[in-house]
Symmetry: C2
Subunit: 197 residues, 2 copies
């Protein structure tokens, strides 16, 4: 296999995907070549379609195929509730649960002194301007339970304080979670938030 | 994200790649959307090129972009040595080592009574016909050190017996290998094949 052939070029590109390395890229490409008709061609077409049409929602930062995403467009989701998440993967996770019927705001990361990420590097100015324009009454902070996530949550709560009600997801033992596998912080949070049985 | 949009379709296809599942497929697709210009578009183009041009070498089973692969075409590799491997990934691994200058024969699997794989399901008939047509003097069996791999090696050695010299890769401790991490079979093989120091 010479390094200028299309197979080698495909392996090199696949190896740049998160979670893949050269070895898994080679394995994936061999699989794709074996399934040229059933998988490789449809995948190439799907990538072409996404490359052509995917864009970020100008309002919330969700990804979709139009300038304003389906969720922002939907009048049914104009509930006055706004769920703030770090990235689109978190928005998708919330949507899979099917329980939240409001709209989202994707920050695009968390504040981080270490990485030099400040409020203007995230979608925090846009968040503020949405409160009035969309008649938001409650902002739910669904940020990750990491130090950066919680720092960001506190910052936003301070910024919005008074204008709207600000809440956050409950912390505790995940459904099906075994205490033995939980970190101390989760157990502490669950204990502090204990309820009458 | 509605399930009929191109982003959802791409995630579904990516989740069918070996080693990826729904979660890593979502992560990869989000990464691709963020890097539409630098990664997604080149990847779509590379897949298109491979889908259009990739094929199996009619002689040896290697993958390439022509009916006869570069290795089979190369007169420099007509050394009389033929290295038999299970699949193309193994051929690539041998090529990366850079030490073998003969040609290959890719079986396309191993004999397996359990999975109903017999000699005619592999490229064993083609292997026999290459011996004379390419003036092969030695067949090196570079099959995996698994039960099926070794069963297949024994079968091929019996079939070719007498016609050519048949050898196999040495078994032993891998370079940098720590005894503590090796299985008993490897240690036994290494001990049985011990050499004067
Ligand atoms: Zn939106
Ligand atoms: Zn070939």
């Amino acid at each position: 296999m010479s390094r200028n052939d299309p197979i080698a070029a495909l392996i090199d590109l696949m190896a740049r995907l998160p979670g893949l390395g050269p070895r898994s890229a080679r394995r994936v490409v061999l699989h794709l070549i074996r399934k040229r008709g059933a998988l490789l061609q449809p995948l190439a077409d799907a990538m072409q379609a996404v490359a052509r049409s995917a864009r970020e929602c100008l309002n919330c930062g969700n990804v979709g195929t139009s300038d304003i995403c389906e969720i922002c467009e939907s009048e049914a989701r104009a509930t006055g509730l706004l769920c703030v998440v770090e990235d689109v993967a978190d928005l998708w996770a919330m949507e899979r649960s099917g329980v939240f019927r409001g709209r989202y705001h994707v920050l695009g990361g968390t504040l981080s002194a270490l990485d030099g990420v400040g409020p203007d590097d995230l979608r925090i100015p846009q968040l503020k301007s949405r409160l009035a324009s969309e008649g938001i009454t409650e902002v739910i902070l669904a940020l990750n339970a990491t130090i950066d996530g919680q720092t960001t949550a506190h910052y936003i709560a301070d910024e919005l304080g008074g204008a709207v009600s600000v809440t956050s997801l409950a912390q505790g033992v995940p459904i099906g979670g075994e205490l033995d596998y939980l970190d101390d912080g989760t157990i502490t949070a669950a204990l502090n938030a204990r309820k009458a049985f």
